[in-house]
Structures are given as structure tokens and as C-alpha cells.
């Protein structure tokens, strides 16, 4: 039975992957590209040590973003605001870290905490609006994303916090080397794996533990399955909403840090601002399960990185974005189809069992 369940949970993503690969092949044929060249170019470049290192780094970012989203999902809260939460968190971290002259451990810890606090506070606005004013978090977090971008561009363009960085774009002043978390190079000597790669594994385990081994996690999952049943059994739903949003925001605050502390060392106007949406997609693929999310993040990062040299074959690298979109939509649909099939087959097997009983009576 257990094997059957595992098989069923794998069949949906498998179908999804297959269909989206087929659809991608159709697109490639339509533009007159050679399927085998494209796929082998992606595979060959994607499995090179350098690309694998880049992939793990990117996957770290995606993993954290998807975890932040999925904490909310577990309770039917849709945190579209990871974008706003992480850019503000990263900016706060950059400002704090660049002003610290402490030993590495202390400096990085304080930096991480400040990013988490700022992310949580920004998410807290949406939580308050939902609990106290009944505003849907879907729309409030979208608004808060736009506001966050405005605040950041104000701070960097018009306050002394922003200066001209070495790359000729405005940003925060550089974080001293003691405040960085560059990581270690073990796949490719020139491309270190972010220190945050390991931190994100810890975060993933903590997420699993919190959700599956604590009272809070039980309440959270119960509220997600049936809010009314949870309320009846004594769960304070408003408190749960606030705590969940704060947690989600705190994890979201981490999303920009692997890149900030492992690479740029400064929050500039060119800091990516849409990793939150990627997180939503990966949380969907991974079904809010940390292992599933990790796999989804790696797949996503693989597509992003391995498409890097496709233009040499005359195919725009955006084919990977198309594949990602297709994978999400097809996988989500096939999850639903498989679920319906399961429900139906359960119903028939129960009906059969009942028939037998009646016959024997």
C-alpha cells in the first residue's frame, strides 16, 4: 500500500515532465531547431562541474523561496509577497552587514536575523490586514510587493544609504569580507558553493520538524485541511494566521542572502526582484514537501543554467522558461487528475468490499 502511494505521488510529476518535454519538442520543431542538439547541449553544459555549482547555488535561493511560500500554503495562506519580503530583507541585511566589524560568526548571525525580522515584519502587515480587517492576503501581498520596490528605489537613489558601487550602479556600500559567507569550492575550483547551501538544508530540516513533529505544526496542518474543524478543537485561527505569515516572511527574508553574502556583497538596483514567483511555482511542484521542493528547485535551476549556451545553437535560452511554465501547469493538472483517479478507485474498492460483506451476510 505504501509503495503504491509513493508510486502514485511520483506518477503525476512524471507525466507532467513527459508532456512538457514533448510540448517543448514540438516548439523546437516548429522553429526549425534540432531537438537532439538542443537537449544534448543542455545536458552536456548542464552537467559540467561549473554549471553544476551554479545550479546548486541557484537552487539554494529557489529552495528557500519555495519553503517560505509553502509554509503559507500548508494553511491555505497564499503568500504572493515573498518578493517584497525578500528584497526588503536583503536590503536590511546589506545595510546591517556593511556596518558591522565583528567576527564572521557573529556578523553573519546578526545579518541573517535582521533579514528575517524585516521579512517577517513586512509579511506581518499582510497578516494584520487579514486578521484585523479581513483583507485577503493574495491582494495585500501583491500591493506590498509594489510598495517594497518603491521604498527600495527611494532608499537607494535618494538617501545616503545608496552610493555608487564599483559596477557603476547605485547600491549599498560593500560588505566587508568578514561579513560575507562565500562558501566552498568542491565541484569546480572557480565556482564556490554558497555557504547558504548548507544553511538552507538546515532550514529545510527545521521546516520538516516544525510541521510534522510539533504541536504547532499539527495545528497548522489541521487548519489547512479544515479551518472549521480546527477551530472547534480549540485552535485559535487568527493567532495561527499571524504566526504562519510571520514565519513565512522570516524565511522569505533569507531568500536574497545566498546571493548577497555569497556573491554581490552589496544590494544594488540590479538585485533580482522576482525570485518569489519562482518560489510559488516550485512549492507547487514540490507539493509543499521539503524533499519535493528540493528536487523542484534543482530541476528549475538546472533548466535555468543549462540553457545558458543554447544561443550558440540558434535557440533563445528562454526555451527554459517556457519549459518551466509548461511543467508547472501540466504537473499541477496531472496531480489533480491522479487525485481524482485515486478518489474514484478508493470509492470503487470500498463499494466492492461492502458488496462482498453484504453477500456473505
Amino acid at each position: 500500500m505504501n509503495l503504491r502511494r509513493i508510486g502514485m505521488s511520483l506518477i503525476a510529476p512524471a507525466i507532467g515532465l513527459f508532456i512538457s518535454l514533448a510540448a517543448t519538442a514540438v516548439i523546437l520543431i516548429a522553429i526549425g531547431a534540432s531537438i537532439s542538439t538542443v537537449f544534448s547541449s543542455m545536458w552536456n553544459y548542464g552537467t559540467s562541474p561549473r554549471a553544476m555549482s551554479l545550479m546548486l547555488n541557484l537552487a539554494t535561493i529557489y529552495f528557500l523561496s519555495a519553503l517560505a511560500v509553502s509554509i503559507g500554503f500548508k494553511m491555505n495562506l497564499f503568500n504572493i509577497g515573498v518578493n517584497g519580503q525578500y528584497v526588503l530583507g536583503a536590503l536590511a541585511a546589506a545595510v546591517v552587514a556593511s556596518n558591522l566589524t565583528l567576527p564572521k560568526v557573529a556578523s553573519v548571525t546578526i545579518t541573517i536575523l535582521s533579514a528575517m525580522i524585516v521579512g517577517a515584519l513586512w509579511a506581518g502587515i499582510a497578516a494584520w490586514l487579514k486578521v484585523a480587517r479581513g483583507v485577503s492576503e493574495v491582494i495585500s501581498t501583491i500591493m506590498l510587493n509594489f510598495i517594497a520596490i518603491g521604498i527600495i528605489s527611494y532608499i537607494i537613489v535618494r538617501t545616503p544609504i545608496g552610493t555608487e558601487t564599483s559596477l557603476n550602479i547605485r547600491g549599498t556600500k560593500a560588505i566587508p569580507e568578514t561579513g560575507m559567507l562565500r562558501g566552498v569550492a568542491f565541484l569546480d575550483p572557480g565556482t564556490p558553493i554558497y555557504g547558504f547551501f548548507f544553511i538552507s538544508i538546515v532550514v529545510g530540516i527545521a521546516y520538516w520538524f516544525l510541521l510534522n513533529r510539533t504541536r504547532f505544526g499539527f495545528d497548522l496542518r489541521a487548519t489547512g485541511k479544515s479551518a472549521s474543524a480546527a477551530r472547534t478543537s480549540g485552535v485559535q485561527s487568527n493567532r495561527m494566521i499571524v504566526v504562519t505569515m510571520l514565519l513565512s516572511g522570516a524565511v522569505a527574508g533569507l531568500v536574497g542572502l545566498p546571493y548577497l553574502l555569497g556573491d554581490t556583497g552589496s544590494y544594488t538596483l540590479q538585485f533580482p526582484t522576482d525570485w518569489g514567483f519562482t518560489g510559488i511555482a516550485i512549492a507547487l511542484l514540490g507539493r509543499n514537501n521539503p524533499l519535493g521542493i528540493a528536487l523542484g528547485a534543482i530541476l528549475w535551476a538546472f533548466l535555468d543554467i543549462s540553457s545558458g549556451q543554447l544561443i550558440l545553437e540558434g535557440v533563445p535560452r528562454e526555451i527554459s522558461t517556457i519549459m518551466q511554465g509548461l511543467i508547472v501547469i501540466v504537473v499541477v493538472i496531472s496531480y489533480e487528475v491522479v487525485r481524482r483517479y485515486q478518489v474514484k478507485s478508493e470509492q470503487t474498492s470500498v463499494a466492492k468490499a461492502l458488496e462482498k460483506q453484504e453477500a456473505s451476510v
Binding site: G134, I139, S140, F146, F277, I329, V332
Partner: protein, 404 residues
């Protein structure tokens, strides 16, 4: 329009113009109600309004459409590509068709397969973004005047109308600076200055929607699919067909909004929508899932955007701050009369803060105006969300005979 409704509309318009006029008089900034400002605000507001209207169609039939942004993106691309190839009207048509394809995809995922609607919409946004960037590189890179991220110019122009006999005298009247009269003159003149045929079409689509959805049997059936699809089904309404029709039409409207954007900037450009699909969604909620309120929300966004972008002496944003303060005080006053003390105090405090800001600073950075519409939306939602009434079965997946 019933007598009561038209009275309310005139009342709202009167109040809005009075507030604008007070602000204009205190600041002495004629730009706030000038012909050019209003005309430009209409151009900025229309795509957002179309996205909001698209949201109304889908959600009134019970399907949340987070994919508006993606459908708009498809519309911008369709218009850029076909407009460059065959002229501007082909562009409009292609924008609508591309948007419809996005809508169809959402309908298949959300209605046929019953996938969570927000999830399906998010996936469509992603897909649309990737597909358009991909196609842009393939189709536009080597085209004369095009590039990796933008199409060559769209051929031809949408006709625009300027009624000189109205605009001329009214603009002169606006320059006199008379309280209320001059502002009204500037606003009315703005409606007849460089008025695009697409804006007129947008307006007509709003009128058509109000009529179709609220005054016909078709509209009643469509809305019943969004309120209680099981009850509708028991009365013989073909719920799935209505949902399909509504969502595909929603995609067409969003696509038209996208086409409007491309045509207004004469090319397709990556990222031209800049979240306007989401903003349209906000205006729909702002407007309580109704055309009138949605249009008002879109106009607010368009107006603030215009003032920010034509701000030469950094004074427009300052004017907006004062306008915001006056509005907050007015709402605070209304709340006091309705004996909602806590809300009233909140508004009066916010209003005072803004008055303080107005008098303490000589100018404000454009970022203030950039975030103002979003903060306004949050404020509106925070104060009015108890009075807003979304369709009862909005976002609920429907399967025939599967009522829990």
C-alpha cells in the same frame, strides 16, 4: 441608469472635482486639472481598466483570474507582432486573440480539471512571460527597428479625436483659475483632447458589461455560476459553458488591455505590462467586483501615474499629498457622522500626518507617487473590506454533481 444611481454618480463626480479644485487652488498648480493631464490619465487608465474589467468577467463567473498579467503580456506581444506585420488594427485583433488563448488555458486548467485557480493563473503568468520573451528573440532580433526585447514599430495609428470647438474655449477657461469652474473645464476638455478610439471602445465595453451582466438573463446566469453553481445547475444553467465563456472573454479583455499598452508605446517591449494585470485585479476588488468602481480605481491609478510622469518642477507629487490629506479628512468626517469613532480617528491622524508632510517639505520624490496608488488600495481594502462582497463561489472549483 436609474435616478438614484445617476444622482450618486453626479454626487461622486461633484465631490471629486471639488476636492481637486481645493487642492489646485491651495497649491496654485494648474497641472492638477489641466486638459493634458486628464487626457494622458485616460491613456494610462485604460489598460488597467480593461484588466480590471477582465477580472470582473472571470470572477463574476466564479473563476479567480491571477493570470491577468500573463494574458496582458500575451496581448502586448500579439499587438506588437501583428501590428508590425499588418498594421495597427491587426495588432488589436491579435492582442485580443492571444489574450483569449491565455483565457482558454486558464479555463481548461481551472474549469475542466478543477486545479486551484490561483495556482493555474500563476502558471499562466510564467508561461506567458517565457513564451513572449522567447518569440521576441526569434522574431524581432534581426528585424529592422526591432531588437531582442522589442518589436519593430507598429504600422499605422489608432484614430484620435480632438474636438477643437470644445477643447479650445474650455482650456482658456481652465487657465483663468476660477474655483471649481476652471477645474471642471480642464477635466471636460481633457475628455475631448486626443481621445483615442481604443479609449472609446474601452468605455463602451464598460457600459456593455454593466448592461449584459446585470440587466440580462445571460448575465444573471453567468453571475449565478459565480454565486452558487450547484443551484444554478439545478435550474438548468450550463455552468461549465458559462464559466468557459466568461474566462475566455476575460482573456480577450486582458489581451486588449495589453494591445492598448503596445499601441500607446508604438512597439512591443519586454516587461511593458509592469504588473498592470495585478493592478487591474486590485482595481476590481477596489471597485467591489463592479464596473463603476473598477473604472474609478483605474482612473485613480492613471491619474497618479500621469502626475508623477509629467512632474517637471517636483510639485505635482506635493499636490497629490495635499489631495490625499483632504480626502482622508473627508472620509474621517463621514466616519465621525456614522459614529465609527476608531476608523474616524485613524483617518484624521493619517490626514494630519500628510498635512504636516505637505507643509514641512518643499518637494517630494517621485517614489512617493509611485507607491501612492498601492497604499491607497490597501487603505481602501482595510477600511471597506467588510462592505465588499465578492461572488460567493469565487475561486471554488466546480464539478457537476459534486457539491460538498
Amino acid at each position: 441608469m436609474t435616478y438614484l444611481k445617476s444622482r450618486r454618480f453626479i454626487g461622486a463626480a461633484f465631490t471629486a472635482i471639488t476636492m481637486l479644485s481645493i487642492t489646485r487652488t491651495i497649491t496654485g498648480n494648474g497641472d492638477l486639472t489641466s486638459t493634458v493631464t486628464i487626457a494622458q490619465a485616460l491613456v494610462f487608465a485604460s489598460p488597467i481598466a480593461l484588466a480590471g474589467l477582465a477580472g470582473i468577467w472571470a470572477e463574476r463567473a466564479g473563476v479567480i483570474n491571477i493570470g491577468l498579467e500573463g494574458m496582458m503580456i500575451l496581448g502586448t506581444f500579439g499587438a506588437g507582432w501583428a501590428g508590425w506585420q499588418w498594421g495597427v488594427w491587426a495588432g488589436v485583433l491579435a492582442g485580443v486573440i492571444f489574450g483569449a488563448i491565455g483565457g482558454l488555458l486558464l479555463a481548461v486548467a481551472a474549469v475542466t480539471f478543477g486545479v486551484d485557480q490561483i495556482i493555474a493563473g500563476t502558471a499562466i503568468n510564467l508561461l506567458a512571460l517565457g513564451l513572449t520573451k522567447f518569440l521576441a528573440i526569434l522574431l524581432f532580433t534581426n528585424a529592422p527597428g526591432g531588437g531582442q526585447a522589442q518589436s519593430p514599430p507598429i504600422k499605422g495609428e489608432i484614430p484620435t479625436f480632438t474636438i477643437d470647438s470644445i477643447v479650445g474655449p474650455l482650456t482658456t477657461l481652465h487657465e483663468q483659475g476660477i474655483f471649481f469652474i476652471s477645474d471642471l473645464a480642464g477635466i471636460v476638455a481633457g475628455l475631448f483632447y486626443n481621445l483615442s478610439l481604443l479609449t472609446i471602445i474601452t468605455f463602451l465595453l464598460f457600459v456593455m458589461t454593466s448592461y449584459l451582466l446585470w440587466k440580462t438573463a445571460f448575465g444573471l446566469r453567468l453571475r449565478s455560476a459565480g454565486e452558487n453553481p450547484w443551484a444554478a445547475d439545478s435550474l438548468g444553467v450550463k455552468v461549465v459553458q458559462f464559466k468557459y465563456a466568461a474566462v475566455v472573454f476575460s482573456g480577450m479583455l486582458a489581451g486588449l488591455g495589453g494591445a492598448y499598452l503596445s499601441i500607446a508605446s508604438t512597439i512591443y517591449r519586454n516587461g511593458n505590462t509592469a504588473g498592470r494585470g495585478f493592478i487591474g485585479l486590485a482595481t476590481m476588488i477596489f471597485g467591489d467586483w463592479r464596473p463603476g468602481g473598477t473604472a474609478a480605481g483605474a482612473l485613480m491609478f492613471g491619474y497618479i501615474d500621469t502626475l508623477r510622469l509629467i512632474d517637471t518642477g517636483n510639485q505635482n507629487v506635493k499636490g497629490l499629498i495635499l489631495l490625499g490629506a483632504i480626502i482622508l479628512f473627508a472620509i474621517g468626517g463621514i466616519m465621525l457622522r456614522r459614529a465609527r469613532r476608531n476608523s474616524a480617528i485613524g483617518f484624521l491622524i493619517l490626514g494630519s500626518v500628510m498635512i504636516g508632510a505637505y507643509f514641512s517639505a518643499t518637494s517630494f520624490p517621485p517614489e512617493v507617487a509611485q507607491v501612492a496608488p498601492y497604499i491607497t488600495t490597501l487603505l481602501v481594502l482595510a477600511t471597506a473590506s467588510q462592505n465588499l462582497r465578492p461572488p460567493a463561489a469565487d475561486g471554488v472549483p466546480y464539478r457537476k454533481g459534486d457539491h460538498h
